[in-house]
Assembly symmetry: C2
């Protein structure tokens, strides 16, 4: 095995199925923490910008990154850039930024495994024979980091999270609480965005 970074069993449980991309994301996340010299994020101080988008495969990487780094979507620490690329930039305000991307040669080699023939037929990961799934997962574990990842320091990377506020108000139409930033005004009264009808749903 060329890596020490195997996802714990709970990361597979979180993700819902076994596939090669969650473990690749887990490994990428662990290497990024190591590279920047930071611990897994408990609270709200480490950010990840994965370059994936929608309408394409292999985004499962992001669940591995969440599991490895603690930079979760729920803590507002992860946002996609919608570039359609298998890469991510990891940023810590005191430690700087690093970008990890998957090398084209690695993607080409991995694409030859039977797992992807099933996926391209539309068969969901949980329905693919376990031996076929494990074959590609184990092959990835055996590849060296340098074959899988291109790693680029990003000294000029900048990101400032928005200033947060606890202030909230009740929508005058539905009565539900709305955080202040999202309050709109209609006929002189505070309303939530859906009640405002200012945005097409």
């Amino acid at each position: 095995m060329k890596t020490q970074y195997f996802p714990p069993e709970w990361a597979f449980e979180f993700h819902g199925h076994r596939c090669p991309f969650m473990p690749i994301g887990y490994r990428m996340g662990k290497l990024a923490l190591e590279c920047l010299g930071v611990e897994r994020e408990k609270d709200h101080g480490f950010f990840v910008f994965p370059e994936v988008g929608i309408g394409h495969p292999q985004t499962c990487m992001l669940d591995g990154i969440q599991a490895a780094t603690g930079a979760t979507y729920g803590k507002l620490l992860m946002e996609k850039t919608f570039y359609g690329k298998l890469a991510a930039t990891f940023y810590h305000p005191q430690k700087g930024a690093v970008r990890f991307s998957l090398r084209a040669e690695f993607i080409d080699e991995m694409g030859k495994f039977e797992f992807f023939a099933y996926r391209k037929k539309g068969i969901e990961p949980s329905e693919i024979p376990p031996a076929v799934v494990d074959e590609v997962i184990n092959w990835v574990f055996e590849q060296p980091d340098e074959f899988i990842f291109k790693i680029e320091p990003k000294p000029d990377f900048k990101f400032s999270p928005v200033k947060g506020s606890f202030n909230k108000m009740k929508c005058s139409v539905c009565g539900e609480y709305v955080f202040e930033r999202y309050i709109r005004i209609k006929d002189g009264n505070p309303v939530c965005i859906p009640c405002s009808e200012y945005e097409k749903r």
Copy 2:
């Protein structure tokens, strides 16, 4: 205890700290699955649209929802609506949709706990005394579902995921793979969005 839906220890490990909102999201997610009559999602067939945004607290709910339902950000099954509200719509193509929101009375009662005094002073959850954290978590466990959640069936809710494609191409500038939907053309050649410089970063 008024609920059977306590997050497993791995969900706290995934989230990174103990707080009341991850468990509230976990419970909301479990109740939504129950309400729609579906199992935790292994693959890509169940969608959640949380109404939270950025720049406000209590979004930790989303990590509980990911853990409970398997509708993860990495599988492209969860997207925020940016309404700044503590609510989420759960959608299964065959079973329909249901919206869960937190009742204003519940939010007001919960807001009286010392946990929030710490948070408003900017103290991170992992730095708050464990007894203060557990006090509010346990109080929530003791509240009945009806006091916490408003539940609304959404028979008219519609959502169609975009059609996915495995097609990809190398960017003619950086040489990295890009999924087809995100390829742009510059000087007659295929490029990725960052290399195109068509979008300000």
